[in-house]
């Protein structure tokens, strides 16, 4: 049996952030996930916005954590080499009725301690955002709303945690938890039993099932589906900020914003669904996005879409973000309701968890040799020409472009495969270096990436998966 101090269930943003935070201390940590790659479920299919918390419900844990998390990203992004940009959000009121709601939204921002929200006139908004609906009456500017690469955020947290001694166990679905005398004893996974003192349940959509394993299932996860469009970088009608709709009583609504890599992101829908594995986009969902976003940006060109995807928010009933520890179950930490701001608050949640562990008597001594920095994969096409030239001289594989749409070189793909917690599947390569994320969606590079993975991992092509086992890319070779 493997022995450790802490088992974190789930390698999403929350699990990875906690792993990295704990890696600063002298304590053994194993992160287990049912998936083959780190990066979670919800954490790889969201709007990729680092929120300020201006619109959270004041006084809640969610408000506290999101507001605390936002300022942490400047330093984090530098330390861990994560693409991050403070582009700011605007909240335009298109109708008079919406215009009348602005003071209340401003007041709520104050209550959340987000003081830098500003009023902007229609003329100012149109200057900031020329493609905005010209009927705009005025609106708010929320300067610290930001965009991030959500995949790299998780990878960076995980790689850094790994470098500082945390173990990651992929493909290890948790099937049971043993409790003895009111203490956690061990965790049963598809890859064996792990004896541990602490279990941190950050299993997202499945956190209720984990909670049930220790008899603490006083809530249910209700997946809330969010569908999106991604548009081509070359689309004619773009925005420079995160353009948010004024929320209604029912929904926060659908937004349009640039992604960190220059595409346009439009969505999401908000649909409560019964099935945690239903990751399908629908005619109705996509049509509703187009209809709603047109009200904000009338000329948006949906035809330029290069992909559509959906994510499931691990919403909870009863609602709200919850952190729970139990007097009668030492060592068990339950995180639930990490719904639509979880990417943002993950890093603050990590601090919060560690503090709660300390309070509960955990012995956590800071390491002396913690390595705070992580170097990302060099992005060839973002370099100035003389640096590109020097790089190819040094390593000729930078001269071999594999993905034509995103201009990704063989050297970058090899780095993605061979670094710690490296890529073992087509999607894992795609999320690390964007090969296949462009307008042809892997039509050109897919066949080459299959061969590279097969060669580098020394496996037959039919064993190359899109992501998890069973998602084989090709059926075999011809003799």
């Amino acid at each position: 049996m493997i022995k450790t101090d802490v088992v974190i269930i789930g390698a999403g943003a929350v699990g990875c952030a906690i792993a990295r935070e704990l890696s600063k201390y002298e304590i053994d940590v194993i992160v287990v996930d049912k998936n083959e790659d780190i990066g979670g479920d919800a954490s790889k299919s969201n709007s990729a916005i680092i929120h300020t918390g201006y619109d959270a419900a004041p006084g809640t844990l969610e408000s506290q954590l999101v507001v605390a998390a936002n300022p942490m990203y400047d330093r984090l992004a530098k330390e861990l080499d994560v693409p991050f940009r403070r582009i700011g959000a605007i909240l335009p009121a298109i109708t008079l009725e919406q215009f009348e709601q602005l003071p209340a939204i401003m007041e709520k921002a104050f209550k959340n301690h987000v003081y830098d929200v500003e009023y902007k006139s229609a003329a100012e908004l149109l200057e900031m955002e020329p493609n905005l609906n010209p009927e705009v009456k005025g609106g708010l500017f929320i300067p610290r709303e930001s965009i991030i690469d959500p995949f790299i955020l998780c990878q960076a947290l995980a790689e850094n945690a790994c470098e500082n001694g945390v173990h990651f166990l992929p493909g290890a679905k948790v099937t049971g938890i043993n409790v003895e005398n009111g203490r956690i004893k061990s965790v049963l996974t598809a890859k064996g039993e792990i004896s541990t003192t602490y279990v941190i349940n950050s299993a997202g959509l499945y956190c209720d099932e984990i909670a049930a394993m220790v008899g603490k299932a006083d809530y249910k996860v209700v997946p809330r589906k969010g569908q999106f469009f991604i548009l081509d970088k070359n689309t004619s009608c773009k925005v420079n900020h995160i353009v948010l709709p004024i929320p209604t009583k029912v929904t926060k609504g659908k937004l349009m914003c640039p992604t960190i890599h220059g595409n346009m992101l439009i969505g999401p829908t908000a649909e409560d669904i019964p099935d945690k594995e239903d990751k399908s986009v629908t005619y109705e969902g996509l049509a509703s996005i187009e209809q709603d976003v047109r009200k904000l940006v009338p000329n948006v060109c949906i035809r330029d879409t290069i992909t559509q995807y959906c994510g499931l928010r691990p919403n909870r009933n009863p609602e709200g973000l919850h952190f729970d520890m139990y007097d009668d179950l030492y060592g068990y930490i339950n995180l639930s309701g990490v719904r639509s701001t979880g990417l943002t608050l993950s890093v603050a949640m990590a601090k919060y968890v560690v503090r709660q562990m300390l309070w509960s008597g955990a012995k956590l001594n800071l390491k002396e040799n913690f390595i705070p920095r992580r170097k990302g994969i060099v992005v060839f096409h973002e370099l100035p020409i003389n640096e590109q030239a020097a790089l190819v001289k040094k390593n000729p594989l930078y001269g071999n472009i594999i993905c034509r749409c995103e201009t990704i070189t063989e050297a970058e793909i090899l780095d993605a495969i061979h670094r710690p917690l490296g890529a073992k599947s087509i999607d894992a390569v795609k999320r690390r270096v964007r090969a296949g994320m462009g307008r042809c969606q892997g039509g050109f590079c897919g066949p080459k990436v299959i061969e590279i993975l097969s060669r580098e991992l020394n496996i037959p092509v039919e064993s190359v998966n899109k992501n998890n086992p069973g998602s084989y890319m090709v059926s075999g070779t011809n003799k």
């Binding site: 070359n234 594995e277 990751k279 399908s280 986009v281 629908t282 005619y283 996509l286 879409t305 290069i306 992909t307 559509q308 995807y309 096409h381 020409i385 003389n386 590109q388 030239a389 020097a390 190819v392 001289k393 000729p396 594989l397 930078y398 001269g399 071999n400 472009i401 034509r404 749409c405 201009t407 087509i426 307008r439 042809c440 969606q441 892997g442 039509g443 050109f444 897919g446 066949p447 299959i450 061969e451 092509v461 998966n465 899109k466 992501n467 998890n468 086992p469 069973g470 998602s471 084989y472 890319m473 090709v474 059926s475 075999g476 070779t477 011809n478």
Partner: protein, 425 residues
């Protein structure tokens, strides 16, 4: 600059497919000294390298050749004439003003090429599942037909065993036959429109001969499966092309191939600031295949999607010839610009412009119709005056038509092309 390799040539050609090869040969024949092809693949031939089926060259050579046999003839000629080429070299940028190409490979590294003139011959890419927004999940087993063809014919890899093909384009139909011959089961070909997207001969030879059903006026309404494709829902569409969901049926398969059209690959062209025709998605050209940027020519599928490579070769020879003339300073100035205007039932005309009073007294127009018709007359008018009539038994959006015009007859600034139905006349 340190670490940057520099080269010079008269005519630089981006892309070594049939278009680039034919342009290179023509440029040499026109007397250009140094003609250089830059190709990102590790071999010349372009998309035809994966087209191992016969059916090429009927028009140009009066023979039925395979893809490799067809471009093999051009490579042989190009080598005899001393055309130079860089392989495994990706062009990253074309500067239209200075005629400088930035490219990269593993041998010379980052490379700048200064050219007298440039021919763009980058071909096209395939439209994807996402472009046409098919609902459902995103499992493994979704391929464009061309990617599956590449895997099979160049890498010897089969993508799946039980296949549904969406779109009745030529690549899809050819792959239906190829996959069947390799032991896969092609369950059906599904086509949204009520007519075939590709060539009729491909339907006969690739579907009918193998008993593969073609479902016209149908579409895929949903893709099912979280790991690998488990199946698709297929439904008929109404006259508005919207699916009739009540009539949806589940079709089991492990693979979906998309043969839903090609898009000229013009990222370099757009970045260079060259004008694009929104209908063809390729650069607007004149009869010399010159783009809106002086000295930058374009030919082949990068200009408009061709169904016959023979047309590509002929059109590209023009581009090569005039690119050579331009590089040598011998391209005569024109006196007047005539616009080619698509009239009744014409989707587009290529070239988009004709220059009058320059070098050439004849110009060949290539064009596609909007909808299929039988027993028609193609009519070319200069303003309101009819200058040419040509009878056709049938016209079809999937099959390109062409017509040769005497430029001296172009009195008006507008050349209008239309399809007239003979039954009405």
């Amino acid at each position: 600059m340190e670490n940057i390799f520099e080269m010079f040539c008269d005519v630089a050609i981006v892309g070594g497919g049939p278009a680039g090869l034919s342009a290179a040969v023509a440029a040499k024949e026109e007397g250009s000294q140094k003609v250089l092809i830059i190709e990102r693949d590790n071999a010349l031939g372009g998309i035809l390298q994966q087209c191992i089926h016969p059916g090429f060259g009927l028009k140009l050579f009066n023979e039925e050749l395979t893809g490799p046999e067809y471009y093999g003839r051009f490579i042989k000629k190009a080598k005899e004439l001393g055309v130079e080429y860089l392989l495994s070299t990706m062009v990253l940028e074309v500067n239209a003003e200075n005629k400088i190409i930035t490219c990269v490979n593993s041998q010379t590294g980052l490379t700048l090429i200064k050219a007298g003139s440039i021919v763009l011959a980058m071909g096209c890419r395939e439209r994807t599942r996402a472009n046409i927004m098919v609902p459902g999940t995103r499992p493994a087993g979704l391929y464009t037909a061309g990617s599956a063809q590449r895997l099979l014919n160049r890498q010897n890899i089969m993508v799946g065993k039980k296949i549904v093909i969406l779109g009745s384009g030529d690549i899809g139909m050819i792959m239906a036959r190829r996959m069947t011959l390799e032991g896969a089961r092609v369950v059906m070909v599904v086509e949204l429109m009520d007519y075939l997207a590709g060539l009729t001969r491909n339907k006969v030879q690739c579907l009918d001969d193998f008993g593969i059903p073609l479902r016209l006026s149908h579409t895929i309404t949903k893709i099912v499966g979280n790991k690998r494709v488990e199946g698709v829902y297929v439904a008929p569409v109404g006259p508005d092309r919207k699916p009739v969901v009540e009539k949806e049926e589940f079709v089991e398969c492990d693979t979906v191939l998309f043969s839903v059209g090609l898009i000229p690959e013009n990222e370099l062209t757009k970045k260079a600031g060259i004008k694009i025709d929104p209908v063809t998605s390729g650069p607007a050209v004149d009869q010399y295949m010159q783009t809106s940027a002086e000295g930058i020519f374009a030919c082949g599928n990068v200009v408009h999607v061709n169904d016959l490579v023979d047309n590509v070769s002929s059109e590209s020879a023009i581009a090569g010839k005039y690119a050579a003339k331009y590089a040598a300073g011998n391209l005569n100035a024109h006196t007047r610009l005539v616009r080619c205007v698509p009239g009744v039932n014409i989707r587009y005309i290529c070239p988009q412009f004709i220059k009058v009073g320059g070098d050439e007294e004849k110009a060949r127009l290539y064009f596609r119709v909007q909808k299929p018709m039988k027993q028609v007359t193609l009519v070319a008018k200069s303003g309101s005056e009819i200058i040419l009539k040509q009878k056709e038994i049938r016209v079809n959006p999937g099959e390109m038509n062409s017509m040769e015009i005497e430029t001296s007859k172009l009195a008006s600034d507008d050349l209008i092309l239309e399809v007239d139905s003979d039954s009405q006349a």
